[in-house]
């Protein structure tokens, strides 16, 4: 366990409790995002995965517990953190173009009242190019496919040039091209020493895409490197003993084992 004040750890959550009205959603959660790693948060529906992320960012009030980004409260480390919300949270009919949305990631740096200038637009276009959407920069966002919209959000986070990326279900119902583009971006981020924490729902791809995993079901059941943590036993503890899920988990574990061997032989 890392010290909560340690300034090189991107995200440390201790004893986090979150409640909607009187219903507790996250219960005594401890979570560490190690630097330079890709971290998945997985768990069943309604387990509080997105809630934990949102609470860490101060979007939902915290009942108790503490959250530190690079050893600091969020307000002080804001410029080092980029957030990619779920695609469904915004109105995609909004009259803005893709490059406008990406430029929103630069607003804070611009400051009050100053309009977006050519420099920011160029930066936004560069971020769009990284996710393979250069040709779509001036399209209105409702004319993009779901996967492209997700990539626009990703580009907005990239434009912020942060050290920690928090992504809420970036792989949810996206096409194969987008999935590949996101994975490429994640790996590129890792190669530059950045950290990414993704809420993830697709168990089979966890070993392929991520280095670390946190299994969450109201509380963090287990967390650590994928090959140690992503075991059938832990998955059973997280998801319960439902048959289909166990089957799926067994497959995922098998794949994790194979890919671990594969990595070992390399």
């Amino acid at each position: 366990m890392n010290s909560i004040e340690s300034s090189h750890v991107p995200l440390v959550i201790r004893d986090l409790n979150v409640a909607y009205q009187t219903k507790v959603v996250v219960w005594d959660a401890d979570f560490d995002a190690p630097p330079g790693k890709l971290v998945a948060i997985v768990g069943p529906n309604g387990a509080g995965k997105s809630t934990m992320l949102k609470a860490a960012l101060g979007l939902i009030p915290i009942a108790s517990g503490s959250v530190r980004f690079f050893g600091l409260p969020y307000e002080k480390a804001r410029h080092r953190v980029a957030y990619v919300p779920q695609r469904e949270t915004v109105d995609w009919d909004f009259p803005v173009s893709a490059v406008d949305v990406v430029a929103m990631g630069l607003y804070r740096r611009l400051g009050w009242c100053l309009p977006v200038r050519r420099k920011e637009l160029d930066q936004a276009r560069a971020a769009l190019a990284k996710v393979g959407l250069s040709d779509y920069a001036s399209r209105q966002i409702s004319q993009l496919s779901g996967g492209q919209q997700q990539r626009v959000f990703l580009a907005r986070a990239l434009a912020q040039d942060a050290d920690l990326y928090l992504m809420d279900e970036p792989f949810a119902s996206v096409d194969a091209a987008t999935e590949r583009a996101i994975v490429d971006v994640l790996r590129e981020l890792r190669s530059r020493g950045k950290t990414a924490v993704c809420v993830h729902h697709d168990l089979p791809t966890v070993p392929e895409y991520f280095d670390h995993v946190a299994l969450l079901n109201m509380r963090v059941v287990s967390q650590g490197p994928v090959d140690k943590t992503f075991t059938a036993e832990n998955l059973r503890k997280t998801y319960g003993a439902r048959l289909t899920l166990l089957e799926e988990a067994a497959q995922a574990v098998e794949r994790a084992r194979v890919s671990a061997q594969h990595r070992a032989t390399l």
Binding site: L59, P95, G105, Y107, R108, C113, S142, A177
Partner: protein
């Protein structure tokens, strides 16, 4: 020492920045107050255009028999000329004021519409009534004239803000949904306002007649001072909109993201709502509290049909608002009987109706044409594929090369049977195909065949279709019996670059055949053998 001071100063600065929108709003309100003072200055006490015109009308003779039964008096030519050329100073000021008001309403309204809070303006406007009545009562009991405009507008602002805050509080602190919160606050505040008005009517000094203007609006009775106030306040509102354009845009699009970025979303929201209150209050006199909401809702909703760019939408909305304002004031100056507010609203609703049908981006006509174009393309592809597949089935039966068999005439009856088309639909499709030069078909004959161009297109369409089928079969967990159905839908939204990608992906597997074999047939053949 410095080291300790610097962070402190920084955090102070940070905290100060949080209050910039509120500061701007305070500035706006300050300006408003100053103008209110000016409005009462002696210059303001000239006659309003409505009054002078009314006198003129009384002198002018009534013309036009056919419309006498409507009770409308047509203006004299001289008056028409004087109004339209803005000969009077008062007319000029009133025109400028109401036009600016319409423009400001369009700007604020666009943000409000995108924030999905359009009806908040309705609630706010109703909430101003108790404020007006209370201000009147307090003014009377303190010996000030209860009809002093600054006092009444101040009261309106206070209860307007209070109503807005109540909606926000109910929304944040209870399970009550948005629309119910709006309706509750609206009805209770308006009820209070009416209760107070009834009391005022009983006061010995109180003559509530002046207050009624605030309910229905009376642009014609505005003094030059009032109009100047409206003009400058509208300009101030527009300036705030321009200054906070980027911030409001982010707030309306993605509030959560704005919060994680450290924008004070609550303060920004309050600033936006403050602008709504400002427009409502300054519009009270011209349009009346029952219709002032239209200034905020209708132009914005109309402009939305024309553009996918926020800046353009806002400019259009303010233009529509300004024109409506202009039309309304002109109408009420020329026909003193017509209520200016209602004419303003009707002209903007007219703009809305035109936009609704003919808007360039989201209008009904454009969308209908788009839909038809897609339907036509789908039908054409369907026909070409049907022709191709028939030729292919012949090739399979006769073991020939399908490409050579494309020249064959296809019997219409078999085409119909294979695709469950009715005759009328098939005939229409064939006629369209023939018109495009893809098919050679004589309406009298019972067969048709593909033209040279049609052969190429049919091959392309069929190939495209089968690529998708194969893709779905190999890459997605779609049951083979559903594949045909799904591919039919997906291929119609497919982009060319993805097609290329698929071709590369599948060329190897399918042995590089130009048209890969129909996967439905191969899978059914495969599934038959093992069991």
């Amino acid at each position: 020492m410095e080291k300790r001071l610097l962070p402190a100063a920084n955090s102070l600065m940070n905290r100060a920045r949080q209050f910039i929108p509120i500061g701007l709003l305070a500035l706006l309100l300050g300006l408003l107050a100053w103008l209110l003072n000016r409005a009462d200055s002696p210059i303001g006490h000239t006659h309003g255009p409505g009054e002078t015109h009314a006198n003129e009308v009384r002198v002018s003779r009534r013309s036009g028999k056919s419309i006498t039964d409507t009770g409308i008096q047509w203006p004299s030519r001289e008056k028409l000329w004087r109004t339209l050329t803005l000969a009077d100073y008062n007319t000029r000021v009133v025109f400028a004021g109401v036009t600016a008001l319409g423009a400001a309403g369009g700007l604020v309204g666009t943000f409000l519409l995108l924030r999905k809070r359009s009806l908040l303006s309705d609630t706010v406007s109703h909430c101003t009534l108790p404020g007006i009545a209370l201000a009147f009562l307090i003014g009377e009991s303190m010996g000030i004239s209860g009809r002093s405009l600054p006092l009444l507008l101040f009261g309106a602002t206070v209860t307007g803000v209070l109503g807005m805050m109540s909606v926000a509080a109910i929304r944040a602190k209870s399970r009550i949904k948005d629309d119910a919160a709006l309706a509750i606050v609206l009805s209770v505040f308006f009820g209070l306002g009416i209760a107070l008005l009834v009391v005022i009517q009983q006061l010995p000094t109180g003559n509530a007649a002046g207050l009624a203007h605030f309910i229905y609006g009376k642009a014609a009775s505005m003094t030059a001072g009032d109009a100047r106030l409206i003009f400058f306040a509208s300009v101030a509102v527009a300036l705030v909109c321009a200054a906070l354009f980027k911030e409001f845009k982010l707030l309306c699009f993605d509030t959560d993201f704005a919060r994680t970025q450290g924008w004070p979303t609550l303060a920004l929201d309050l600033a936006l709502m403050g602008l709504v209150v400002a427009v409502t209050v300054i519009g009270l006199q011209a349009v009346g509290l029952l219709l002032v909401v239209a200034l905020l809702i209708v132009p914005a909703a109309a402009a939305r049909f024309w553009s996918h760019r926020l800046g353009v939408t806002m400019l259009l909305a303010s233009l529509i608002g300004a024109i409506s304002g202009l039309v309304g004031v002109a109408a009420s100056a020329l026909f003193p009987k017509l209520p200016a507010g209602a004419v303003i609203v009707l002209s903007s609703v007219l703009c809305f109706s035109v936009s609704f049908f003919f808007g360039a981006k989201r209008g009904l006509l454009v969308r209908w044409l788009d839909q038809r174009r897609v339907a036509a393309r789908v039908a054409r592809q369907h026909l070409l594929r049907a022709l191709y597949e028939w030729c292919e089935s012949q090739a399979l039966q006769h073991l020939g090369d399908p490409l050579q068999l494309l020249d064959r005439p296809v019997p219409i009856a078999e085409l119909r049977q294979a695709n469950h088309w009715n005759l009328a639909r098939l005939t229409r499709l064939l006629r369209l195909g023939a018109a495009e030069g893809l098919i050679i078909w004589n309406p009298d004959s019972h067969a048709c065949h593909l033209s040279a161009e049609g052969k190429l297109e049919a091959r392309r369409v069929t190939r495209n279709h089968r690529l998708w089928e194969t893709y779905l079969l190999h890459y997605a967990d779609v049951a083979p019996q559903h594949i045909h159905h799904n591919a039919d839908q997906i291929e119609h939204v497919i982009e060319p670059n993805i097609v290329n990608e698929l071709e590369e992906l599948l060329a190897g597997r399918e042995g590089g055949a130009l048209v890969p074999a129909d996967p439905e047939k191969t899978t059914s053949a495969n599934s038959d053998t093992p069991s």
